[in-house]
């Protein structure tokens, strides 16, 4: 418990120190602070006793926060949230050190905001109290807004506004839903409680199916914006494209995962009936997203935008695994969240490194950089392969299990987990593998390989040279030092995912426990439901 | 709806006409005030509204057979006179500043 709070509060304290410290010391302070936070969390993870049980540790305490409605500052991890938090704590130092030379103005604010962003994401992952989760979830927008709006690209203002308003709108659905559940709990038991476990068991057991349907729909709508799921994804390409490198990294790395994590942690356990009823709809959106975004990636010329759209496609597969509603898919999905954070984060980092040298990321103007930067090219190919799911690297395990889970999510109960999807979904989503190879190799083929093309206007390059000492040379030791840990983690997960799978397994089974029954009910009522849907789309009379 | 009760004796048509006229004058005054940009015409339109108000006072005074209506017209005249004196003085001042009577010339006084 203390270590959790330490990992959360160290960045906050660092931000406070940065605010009063010398501007030149800001980045060093931030690096130290983020590493200390990572250390605290790692220490917690080291002694974490529930790796293989799926339980929450420590049991959330009743530390009062808002007494009148019994909201607490309950924090605790199970293995899934701890893994995501570790990913977050791991990426933040990389972001901080990755911004070492890229950010030259208003450094104190930049690193201060970054530390606050870090703290709020950690709060969201650690929270066991839904209101606390909401606070962490929502507060991430504030630092991100500033990070994008101040240090972003030419359209940063618009991007930041869109990011903020869009995802804020989505969060309102989510907030409304959890307030509704809390209120229902109060109405039903006379007690206020905002504990995730309590609310989940209450909602899944006590709320009628119809209510669960709408509850799930609202939660899905809220989190889908963050994920982002087609068709509410349009804020992402712009935000990614305009954000500074580190912003993109953390956005792709962990912020999007807040959405998937929210669905996994809140939507699925709270409303199993709704989940079962809406799985097909959501999965259709996911598969559409996979193909749609992949095709869009394929015609992008902006490297960063391409990777941004690829996130939409990839997270479609991730969500599809979740909606397979069986342990295979859900495991794959959780693993995919981590993998996507690593590989896409690394790709953004790499593109940022090239951008720092050339100030261009349009592939019409720049390309064949392997000739100038072989080490960069090596990592680029490495993470591309990780991103398109080459077996032996991390992307494969998650992607493969997601598709596998989708595939076997048929109505028969031979796995013990009947599902609503099946080979058709897997086939369509599987084309994402082909399309993924198409666009990522297009990126590599044009951006990394091919004849060397550099922007004509050399003044940018000169400028960069004078400013940061990076010039057009290959990666510096600092940059390589950032990428090597990422690559090693990718490799490790790809080669030996067993410990992670074993850690995720029990949590997933716990989450999915009510689903076989719910899915069975949905399957039984499907003919009627289909007719009812034809007659009156809003009617849902299973309850 | 306003049912006309046939049992009721007929009312005074003069009052009705007076009230209608007052309403019309007031409305026309408002329309004029809103649509004209000449400051003097705008003040004339306020005078039109005063006229409407005065007529309403007289009409209601007649309906209630009370002299207070007429008394209030006196006050209205007073206010109208005072307003005319001050407003026209202001108009002259403003005109000296910008050599125009258009109200739009003073847009920048807005906060935005």
């Amino acid at each position: 418990m203390n270590l959790i709070w330490a990992s959360i509060l160290i960045p906050v304290a660092t931000a406070a120190v940065i605010a009063v410290a010398n501007a030149r010391a800001a980045r060093s302070l931030a690096a130290v602070g983020s590493l200390a936070s990572l250390g605290a969390l790692a220490a917690f993870a080291w002694q974490f006793p529930a790796w293989s049980t799926g339980a929450v540790f420590p049991e959330p305490c009743g530390c009062a926060w808002l007494d009148s409605i019994n909201a607490t500052l309950g924090v605790g991890f199970d293995s899934v949230s701890l893994m995501l938090a570790l990913l977050e704590a791991f990426l933040i130092p990389i972001c901080v050190i990755g911004s070492w030379t890229a950010i030259s103005d208003r450094q104190r604010e930049y690193y201060g905001w970054f530390m606050l962003l870090h703290a709020s994401i950690l709060v969201a992952f650690a929270a066991r109290d839904v209101l606390l989760f909401y606070v962490g979830y929502e507060f991430t927008l504030v630092p991100l807004l500033f990070i994008i709006a101040i240090w972003g690209g030419p359209e940063r203002r618009q991007a930041a506004h869109k990011l903020f308003l869009y995802t804020f709108l989505g969060s309102l659905f989510f907030l409304g839903s959890i307030l509704f559940v809390g209120w229902q709990h109060h109405a039903s038991t006379g007690l206020w409680s905002w504990d995730m476990g309590t609310l989940s068991s209450f909602a899944s057991a006590r709320l009628p199916a119809n209510t669960q349907f709408w509850l799930f729909a609202a939660l899905l709508a809220g989190f889908a914006v963050k994920v982002p799921l087609f068709p509410v994804h349009t804020w992402l390409p712009l935000a990614h494209n305009q954000a500074p490198t580190a912003g993109s990294v953390i956005l792709a790395g962990t912020l999007l995962k807040l959405g998937t994590y929210g669905i996994f942690r809140l939507a699925l356990p709270m409303a199993p009936e709704g989940g079962a009823a809406l799985a097909v709809v959501a999965s259709v959106l996911c598969t559409v997203a996979v193909v749609y975004a992949a095709l869009i990636c394929w015609v992008q010329t902006d490297a960063k935008k391409l990777v941004a759209y690829s996130s939409v496609s990839h997270l479609g597969i991730c969500m599809l695994g979740l909606f397979a509603l069986n342990p295979v898919g859900a495991q794959g999905s959780v693993l995919y969240m981590i993998n996507h954070g690593l590989s896409t984060g690394a790709l953004f980092l790499l593109i940022g490194m090239a951008y720092e040298r050339y100030h261009v990321k349009d592939m019409d103007q720049i390309g064949g950089l392997a000739k100038r930067m072989p080490v960069w090219a090596f990592f680029m190919v490495f993470f591309t392969m990780s991103s398109i799911g080459l077996p032996g690297l991390n992307g494969f395990v998650g992607e493969y299990l997601c598709l596998f889970g989708t595939y076997i999510a048929t109505g028969d109960a031979s796995t013990g987990y009947p599902g609503l999807l099946g080979p058709g979904f897997a086939l369509v989503a599987g084309t994402g593998l082909i399309l993924g190879a198409m666009y990522m190799l297009l990126l590599v083929g044009r951006y990394v390989f091919g004849p060397l093309r550099e922007p004509k206007d050399e003044s940018h390059g000169k400028h960069a040279h004078d400013d940061h000492g990076a010039g057009h040379g290959d990666l510096t030791g600092r940059e390589v030092g950032l990428l090597v840990p990422l690559a090693l983690v990718c490799l490790f997960i790809g080669v030996y995912p067993k410990p992670m799978l074993q850690a995720i397994g029990p949590v997933v089974e716990r989450t999915l426990a009510p689903y076989p029954a719910a899915v069975e009910r949905t399957l039984k009522s499907q003919p009627q439901a289909a007719e009812a849907a034809k007659a009156e789309p809003k009617e849902d009379d299973r309850g | 709806m306003n049912p006309i009760d046939p049992q009721l004796p007929p009312g005074d048509p003069l009052v009705m006409l007076g009230l209608l006229a007052s309403a019309i004058l007031f409305a026309v005054g408002i329309v004029g005030f809103l649509s004209r940009r000449n400051m003097i015409t705008m003040f004339l339109c306020t005078e039109l509204m005063f006229q409407g108000a005065g007529l309403a006072m007289i009409s209601y005074g007649r309906q209630h057979m009370d002299l207070s209506g007429q008394v209030f017209v006196i006050f209205i005249l007073t206010v109208a006179a005072a307003e005319a004196a001050l407003a026209l003085g202001l108009v002259v001042l403003l005109y000296r500043r910008k050599e125009t009577l258009s109200a739009e010339a003073w847009k920048e006084l807005a906060e935005s």
Binding site: - | G11, L14, V28, V31, Q63, V71, V92
Partner: protein, 325 residues
């Protein structure tokens, strides 16, 4: 009045006025005028009908004419492109209004209206117009802001929503109406009552009554209060004559005080404070007009501060600087 018809008539008026505001010419102007007048006529007819009055009353005809004239003049006030004409049309409004006042029995106010408005206020307007108005071209309208009505649609919409609302109140007036006889009785009772506060007038009327009755008009003394008859047409007051006999003097309606007398009485008895306030208002207006009319010199902020004996701030008054340039 039946509100839908009322609203329809208002709407027609509104359309007519809107068209007129767009400064049409020729037949369009004629059509718009006719449309507006038709709407107005319909409105007035509805008003007269709603009053439930039967038979022809010349006062109603006069009143209708006055109202029509006032309205037409008012429309001209806001549609004409030349402010001088607007002012003159406004005089017409005032005159028509005075006619309506007269018909409704407010003689004093009718004339003071003409005197104050047409005689004083409008003359002021004319002076200001002469001071401020740019010299118009021969025959043509002078400046753009006079030629074009701005946002006439919004203005007409606002104005006529208000008109319809007000008119529906007018239509409702009848339900609160009492029988005409009773109204008159009450009015006369009020007037008699007011007369009690005017001992001189009562004395004069009684003396005249006594003389007419062939009694000794001198040396009488009141023997009781003024007792108003049930219908208010007469009032009786017992007096003790000089010879000691008691006589009941009967005063008739014609003996009631005239409008201006009653008004004056009402003013000083019921509204003395307001009267004082009105005086103050006029005084302040006069002072204000004097201040405003004082010769103003365009001075920048710093100059003004210097003139006031304050230290200069070296602030460039952009507005004035722009003006000078």
């Amino acid at each position: 009045m039946i509100p839908p018809l009322l609203y329809a008539a208002s709407a027609i008026c509104a359309v007519g006025l809107f068209l007129l505001l767009r400064q049409p010419t020729g037949k369009a102007r004629l059509g718009a005028t006719i449309l507006g007048l038709a709407g107005l006529a319909w409105l007035l007819v509805q008003g007269v009908q709603a009053s439930g009055a039967l038979g022809f009353d010349p006062r109603v005809a006069i009143m209708s004419l006055a109202v029509a004239m006032a309205t037409a003049a008012a429309v001209r006030v806001i549609t004409t492109t030349r402010p001088v004409f607007a002012a003159l049309y406004f005089v017409l409004v005032v005159v028509a209004g005075a006619v309506a006042y007269l018909v409704m029995g407010a003689e004093f106010m009718a004339f003071s209206l003409i005197i104050v408005y047409a005689g004083a206020i409008l003359i002021t307007y004319m002076f200001v117009l002469m001071l401020a108005q740019q010299a118009p071209d021969a025959g043509g309208p002078s400046v753009a802001y006079d030629r074009i009505a701005r946002e006439p649609a919004a203005a007409v919409l606002c104005g006529f929503v208000l008109l319809a609302a007000l008119a529906s109140v007018v239509g409702d007036a009848r339900t609160t109406k009492q029988p005409a006889a009773m109204v008159e009785a009450r009015a006369n009772a009020a007037a008699w009552n007011r007369m009690r506060g005017m001992p001189e007038l009562v004395q004069e009327r009684i003396t005249a009554e006594l003389a007419a009755a062939g009694k000794d008009p001198m040396g009488w003394s009141p023997a009781g209060g003024l007792e108003v008859a049930q219908d208010g047409r007469t009032a009786m007051m017992p007096v003790t004559l000089a010879d000691g006999t008691r006589h009941e003097t009967v005063l008739k309606a014609a003996d009631l005080p005239v409008n201006s007398t009653s008004l004056g009485w009402e003013l000083v008895t019921s509204y003395p404070g307001s009267l004082e306030l009105a005086g103050v208002i006029l005084l302040m207006a006069m002072l204000g007009a004097v201040v405003l009319a004082r010769r103003q010199t365009d001075m920048a902020e710093d100059d003004r501060r210097a003139a006031a004996g304050l230290s200069r701030m070296n602030v460039e008054d952009a507005d004035l600087a722009g003006d000078r340039a």
